[in-house]
Each structure stands twice: as C-alpha cells, then as structure tokens.
C-alpha cells in the first residue's frame, strides 16, 4: 500500500495548496496544469472520469458529462435532479463548442492520442485540461489524488482510500491460506471467447479475488481465443461480465463446448460498473471472492461489508447493484 501512496504522491505533485494560491498539477502525460483555485465547474468527457468525480462527491460540480454516462443507473442515481449537459463521445466526437459554452474551470479527458490533441485545442481556448489514465489499481489511486487536489476534495479522497484499504485488508484476511486457488476464465460481456489478458485491470481484479486467471500469459486487450484453447486451459469457473443480455450464456449453449456449460459461473452484475477501473472497483474483487469461496464469507457480518464500503464512500447503500439488495 505504501507503494500506492508513493505513486500518487509522485504523480500528483502539488506545489501550492494554501488558500488563495494556485494549484499546480502534473498529469499522467507529464503536462503541467495550473488552476487558480479548486475547480467548481467540471466537464468529464468519458465514463471513468465521471466515476472518479462522483466518488469524490462532485455531483453538483459536474456541468458536462459523456454522452452515455447517464445511462448507467449508478451515475443517474448519484446525479439525481442535477442534469449536466452531454458533451459527446469518443466515437462520435466531442462537441468543443458545447464544452466551451459550459465555461468549465476543469475538463477531464482520457490520455490517448485523440485526447491529447483535443486537450491542446481546449488549452488554446484557455481551459484547464487534465489527462486521466486509470488502467491499474495504482493508476486509479494516483488519478483519485490528482482530481481531488484539482477540486479541493482531498478529505473525500482520503475517505475513499481508507475504505479501499479496509476492504483490501479484509479481503486478504479472508483469503489467507486459500490453496489451490480456483482457475478462472474471464468472459467479456458480449463474447464468450474474449477474455482478460495478463496486462488488463480485470486480471488484477481476479488476483485480488483469490482467483488464477488462466489467460494470464496472453497480451493485448480482450484477446480472442477459440473453444479448443479454452478447454485446454481447463478452467474451474467462469467469471462473466453481465450486460443484461446474457450473450455469453447463449454462446455457451450453442458453442458445443459441453464441459464449459457445467462450470460454475460468477457474474459481475450489469449495474455494478465493477468491470472497469474506478475508485470503488475493489468491491468487484470482494464480491467475486465471496462468490468463489463462500465458506470464507459465511457470517452475516460479511454480507454487510460491501454495504458498509458504499456507505463510507457515498454515504448511501442503494448504489450497490440490485442483485445485492437485501
């Protein structure tokens, strides 16, 4: 954990934090961003940065969000009556005039090449843009610290970190001595044969949940494998991202891979958003562990750990996936 905090401290170098002093930040691309004061009008251009903002309690400060962010029940519930303007998406393009018209004092953008280009254009117009990268748990922590500093929400960031630390310790304690670990195969939400490679966040999540990723040696993003390879790996259980349409389950019925149909299936609930890196994604690892090793999470107190976790971060428990509601 110390490494996590060190990483956050390095990435988010704050030169001045005293009241009235400018906030100087260095983002994931090494860009220097200066804010005269903590940002109070924020445009988040894609879902992960929206999740970070919401985890920091910035619902009312969000004036613009990604085109389909609100379709997520989690985001919709947290925003409530507040109605930020949708500013576009990466595939259809961001409407830069809309963003400028919202007069934000901070724009959160992904750190890919198209994001860097748009950030340069917005900077030319006098807007502060932070490039966000959150593909590992370490980067999640660093990003949380960076946005918290930019918005003056360090106390809330500390609460989130504390909640994560507690949950992680709890998880490690429960899984102590588990051997051998279950061999698991991760299934992408729309395709039985697309899995998580060893360099993806989902691989980290499986490890935390005490599971062995059979595709750990693969590289790339959601690499495709064929049925024979899948059978050769001999997974003991399937971890499926649920999208509400049960596409992988239907593939399983028609693919002719009979031994796989009989495997236990752990499903990440569709409305959980645990399948992507976010400040509360650790809940996904805990949930998977509790399903994979139910004997180690048997007490009534264990059932409430995730509710407590959400209570600590969001001050409410109704944001938990519906499948976990009592």
């Amino acid at each position: 954990m110390r490494a996590l905090f060190l990483c956050a401290a390095l990435l988010c170098s704050v030169a001045f934090t005293a009241a009235g002093q400018p906030i100087e930040l260095t983002d994931h691309r090494g860009r220097q961003v200066s804010l005269p004061q903590p940002a109070s009008r924020i445009v988040s251009t894609y879902l992960p940065s929206t999740l970070f903002s919401l985890s920091l309690g910035l619902e009312q400060q969000l004036v613009g969000i990604g085109q389909s962010d609100r379709q997520q029940r989690f985001v919709d519930q947290l925003l409530g009556e507040h109605d930020p303007i949708a500013v576009g998406s990466r595939t259809a393009g961001l409407n830069l005039e809309t963003i400028v018209a919202l007069q934000p004092d901070l724009v959160l953008m992904h750190d890919k090449k198209d994001g860097i280009r748009l950030a340069a254009m917005l900077e030319q117009l006098g807007l502060a843009v932070l490039l966000v990268k959150a593909e590992t748990l370490e980067e999640v922590d660093a990003t949380l610290g960076m946005i918290a500093t930019a918005t003056g929400r360090q106390a809330q960031a500390q609460r989130v970190r504390q909640a994560n630390l507690t949950l992680r310790n709890e998880l490690e304690q429960r899984l102590q001595g588990v051997a051998p670990r279950h061999r698991s195969y991760y299934v992408k939400r729309d395709d039985l044969f697309s899995t998580a490679s060893g360099e993806m966040y989902q691989h980290q999540m499986l490890q935390l949940a005490g599971l062995t990723n059979v595709a750990a040696d693969l590289r790339g993003f959601f690499p495709k494998v064929d049925a024979e390879q899948l059978l050769r790996w001999q997974p003991q259980l399937l971890v499926i991202e649920d999208d509400g349409l049960n596409r992988p389950q239907r593939q399983l019925q028609h693919a002719g891979v009979v031994p796989l149909r009989q495997l236990p299936q752990l499903t990440l609930p569709a409305d959980s958003l645990w399948s992507m890196p976010s400040p509360f994604a650790l809940a996904g690892a805990y949930y998977l562990a509790s399903q994979a090793y139910p004997q180690r999470f048997a007490t009534a107190q264990d059932q409430n750990v995730l509710a407590d976790y959400y209570q600590q971060i969001f001050n409410r428990t109704d944001l938990l996936p519906k499948a976990l509601w009592p």
């Binding site: 409407n95 830069l96 005039e97 400028v100 018209a101 090449k113 198209d114 860097i116």
Partner: protein, 345 residues
C-alpha cells in the same frame, strides 16, 4: 453553365455560409462575429508563426476564430475535395456509380490512421501522416498492379482496386482486434465514421494546398476529361494519350481524397452522390460538372456539419447527417427528372 445557374449556386452557397457562421452551441452575436473577422489575420499569423495568441481576444472571438471558423472552412474544403474527386473518378471510369474509394484509397487511409493510433510513439500528426501515406500507397499499388497486368484496362484497374482495398480492410480488422476496446478502438471507430469535431486551422493548412492544386488541375483538364469520356479510340484520334491522362487524373484525385480522409476520417456519400446529383441537372459535361460538383460538395458538407454540431449538445456523426439529408434529396431529384421525361446521364 447559364448565368441563372451560376447566380443560384452562389446565392445558395452564400446563404449557407452565412447560416453556418451563426450556428453553434456557443452564443456569438453578429457584432462579435464581425469583430472576430477583423482579428482573423492577426490570429492566423500567430498560429502560423507559433507565437502566443493575442491576450485580448474575447471568449466569443476565441470560440469563433479557433473552433467555428476553421471547422466551416474545413467542411467546405473536404466536401468540395471529395465531390470533385468523385466527379473526376466517375468521368475517368465512365461510370456514375464509381466512388473515390474504388481504388482502396479510403481503406488505406483508415488502416494507416489505425496503425498510427496503435503505434506507441508519435502524436496526432503522426496518425494523420500514416493515414495519408497509406492512402496514397493504396492508390499507387492499385495503379501499378493494373498497369503491369494490362495496359490501361479500366476493368483491371477496378479489380486491383478491390484487391488492394480488401487487403487494407483485412489489415484494419486485425488492428481492431488488437486495439483496447476502451482505449484506441473508439478512436479507430471515430475515423471510420468521420467527423469534423476536432477541426483546426492546421487541418485546413493540410488540406488546402492539395485541394486547390487538384481543383486547378481538373479545371484545366475538364475539356480533356470530356474527350476521355468518349472512349479510348476517339480520344486517341483527337490527339490524347488516354492511358497517361487517366492515370494522371486518378493519381491527383487520389491525392485529394487521401488528404481529405487523413484529415477528418471517412465521410461517406459525398464523393459518390454529389457529382451524381449535379449531373441530374447539368448532364455529363465536365465544363459544368467540375465546378458545380465542387461547390455543391462543399455546400452540402457545410450544411450537414452545421446541423451535426448545432442541433444537439452532443455531436451527431456527420456521415449520418449526409445520408439523412442526401438520400431523400437525391431521390427527389431523380423523381423530378423522371417525371419530366429526362434520362439519367
């Protein structure tokens, strides 16, 4: 081209341009727009010389001069370039169903852009350079293979175009499977759909020279294009070398298309249908077809993009708008022509 048609065209283009200047999500008044124009030379000079922008620009002037105006100019250039190339391709191939991507230029560009996006090093300019290079490479490969296989055969040229286009499409599919679905893949899809949402003066500077040079060349050669449309033997009897002329025109048209696609991605419909639409009321005479296709292509993309950026807070992919506006308009023109007893050229 009659004076009436000229006036009508210029009036339409002028009205659209004026409309586009005032359309946008950021409210900019008439006075601010006029004041912005007065600052344009200064801003362009600063951008060209990489010096800081004037500090006294108002937010309205910044939005107008750095976002809206370059986007309008780029829409005009891209629309004009694609329609112009489409008209030339259709003339050279003597087939009104030919579009500028027949030689695989578009596939090459999109493959190049995807490769540039996945390449760990390099910024956005590198992505655009890859798109341009691979687009030109596709056209060059198609023409070279066709020239080796059979001297000047149009059919062979189309077939080699299909082969090269398929190769690049396959390459693109491979790159898509390698791309991070939440990282580079959305950027690749952005290229496939095409958008002017990130238009800037640097895009204008990239497209303008080729578009102007292309138009000047095609304007000069429009008489010869008419002769070429008569067939190879009549062309030869009138002193032309049809093979050389055909390859030269295709190479230049491909350069214009590659520059357009490398700048804003793949925008469907315009290169195929605008020359076709113009032909419904001018006939196949390239003396009118070349300038009118250019003007209408620019006007059409300007209209579509103005809607795409202003109708909603979010961007509507411009390819959807071009199809939604263009398809009924084209159907109407065809219907009107048929009902007047005309024959489609």
């Amino acid at each position: 081209m009659t004076t009436k048609v000229r006036l009508c065209t210029l009036w339409t283009l002028g009205s659209l341009l004026l409309l586009a200047l005032f359309m946008g999500r950021y409210e900019i008044g008439v006075q601010a727009i006029f004041q912005s124009f007065a600052r344009l030379p200064e801003v362009l000079y600063c951008l060209a010389s990489r010096s800081p922008l004037p500090e006294d620009l108002t937010p309205e002037q910044q939005v107008f001069l750095l976002l809206r105006l370059p986007r309008i100019v780029l829409a005009l250039l891209i629309g004009a370039g694609l329609a112009l190339s489409g008209a030339v391709y259709q003339g050279v191939f003597r087939n009104p169903l030919v579009s500028p991507d027949i030689l695989g230029v578009t596939s090459g560009c999109v493959f190049g852009a995807a490769l540039g996006l996945l390449w760990p090093q390099g910024g956005w300019l590198w992505v655009q350079a890859c798109a341009l290079l691979f687009g030109l490479a596709a056209a060059f490969a198609s023409m070279t293979i066709a020239a080796r296989l059979g001297q000047g055969s149009l059919l062979l040229l189309i077939m080699t175009g299909i082969i090269v286009g398929s190769m690049f499409s396959a390459g693109l599919m491979i790159l898509k499977t390698l791309a991070d679905p939440y990282g580079e893949l959305p950027a690749i899809v952005f290229w496939l759909m095409g958008s002017l949402s990130a238009a800037s003066w640097s895009n204008v500077a990239q497209v303008l020279p080729l578009a102007l040079f292309g138009y000047a060349l095609f304007h000069l050669y429009r008489y010869r294009l008419n002769v070429l449309c008569l067939g190879d033997r009549p062309s030869q009897s009138l002193g032309l070398d049809p093979v050389k002329l055909r390859y030269g025109l295709i190479a230049m048209a491909s350069c214009v298309v590659a520059a357009c696609v490398a700048s804003v991605g793949q925008i469907a419909w315009i290169g195929l249908v605008i020359p076709h639409m113009v032909r419904t009321f001018t006939g196949s005479d390239h003396l009118s077809l070349i300038p009118l296709s250019t003007l209408f292509g620019g006007a059409f993309l300007l209209l579509s993009d103005s809607f795409a950026r202003s109708a909603f807070a979010v961007e509507v992919p411009v390819g959807i708008v071009t199809s939604l506006i263009g398809a009924p308009l084209f159907a109407y023109l065809l219907f009107r022509r048929q009902s007047q007893g005309g024959h489609h050229a």
